[in-house]
């Protein structure tokens, strides 16, 4: 499957499938790469394929299905996007899938722009980024409890005295 509206270019798709053994995702979206090879992939895309602009990191929370026969459990799927520069710019996207208490190696050493986006995803979705130099909340106050974009977080949760 592919990312609608912004597909990977053929060479990146080939790289993902052949070298990084990316899998298709039944829920759609970009190919899934193993967490351990995620940093290596980003480095390769930046240095060899000239994907120089940091695009986005999107974490989505998937609560454990009711009939959890396969033992999938609670998941967080994190999609990354990098953009190449100049004419005919393309987006290179991939996905990383971790259990809800897992951690992803941070991309900050490669892309300084990943700093705030990763902090934001930590803040709102609660995905941990290993080795992040400044792992604080970005949007909400430091004493906030819970991660609002989790599916089990009610939209009108009243945790703060000002509400």
């Amino acid at each position: 499957m592919k990312l609608l509206g912004a597909e990977n270019s053929e060479e990146v798709q080939k790289l993902l499938i052949e070298q990084f053994e990316a899998m298709e995702n039944s829920l759609g979206g970009p190919p899934v790469v193993a967490v351990v090879r995620h940093l290596e992939l980003a480095k390769k895309l930046r240095d060899e394929y000239q994907y120089r602009i940091f695009g986005f990191v999107v974490a989505a929370h998937y609560p454990a299905p009711a009939k959890d026969a396969n033992g999938v459990g609670e998941l967080i799927r994190v999609s990354y996007g990098l953009r190449s520069v100049g004419k005919g710019t393309k987006l290179a996207t991939w996905q990383v899938c971790i259990p809800v208490d897992g951690a992803i190696p941070t991309l900050v050493p490669l892309f300084a722009g990943a700093d705030w986006q990763e902090r934001e995803q930590f803040d709102l979705v609660g995905v941990r980024f290993d080795g992040h130099p400044d792992p604080r909340r970005l949007m909400l106050s430091e004493d906030w409890q819970g991660h609002p974009l989790r599916k089990d977080y009610a939209i009108d949760t009243k945790v703060h005295p000002w509400r």
């Binding site: 949007m139 106050s141 609002p148 939209i155 009243k158 945790v159 703060h160 000002w162 509400r163």
Partner: protein, 243 residues
Amino acid sequence: MAVDESYRTYSHPVYDFMMKVPGLDVMTTTVDKLLSFGSEASLWIFPVATSCCGIEFMALAASRVDADRMGAIVRGSPRHSDVMIVAGTITVKMAPRVKKLWDQMPEPKWAIAVGSCAISGDFYRNIYSVVPGIDTFIPVDVYVPGCPPNPEAMMHGLIRLQEKIRASANGRDVNREARPEAVHHQRLPRLPILGDPARTSELDRQQVASAASLGWWDELNLEQALDSVAKDLADESESEPKV
């Protein structure tokens, strides 16, 4: 006409002196009118322009509408200002700051809530991080509805505020009803409703009179107005259950 002193919540040396000196206190009505004229004619604005309404607020100060015509200029420091215009969504992270800024303003001071976010939170109202209306933590004098309201509407809000100040000096204004205290500081806006069994009918009466005194419909028949409100409420409660 006797002046109701209750609305003056602060002390001022000049005013206090005049009240103490025998002979001068009879002048206080006149002086009070003069002072209130000064207040209403020179409303310096402290903008808490957080979001979209802030842009329209800028248009209020800009060429086409030009709030400076009525003496309203924008100041950057709350200490210099008379009226705080809260334009935009206030979040739980921002609300303590707004409260602090409000506390820093010297009396007499007023607040205008501009836009539906500042009034009630709009469609962000139920979201975890948004304060449902600034009147949950500061007193608001004028509400300017809209999303965002036009600069002309904000100008109209300022004019309504002037009318209110004038009415206060004439002793015709009634203090707003305090919001009920909620448990655990959690307050949702609850607009005072006429005919509410929790209120005294005298308060209803005074507020209708106060509302009438702000406008140009001085001839309004209060009994009639109250009756029609009561009738509306009765109809409403019959037709559908209150949400």
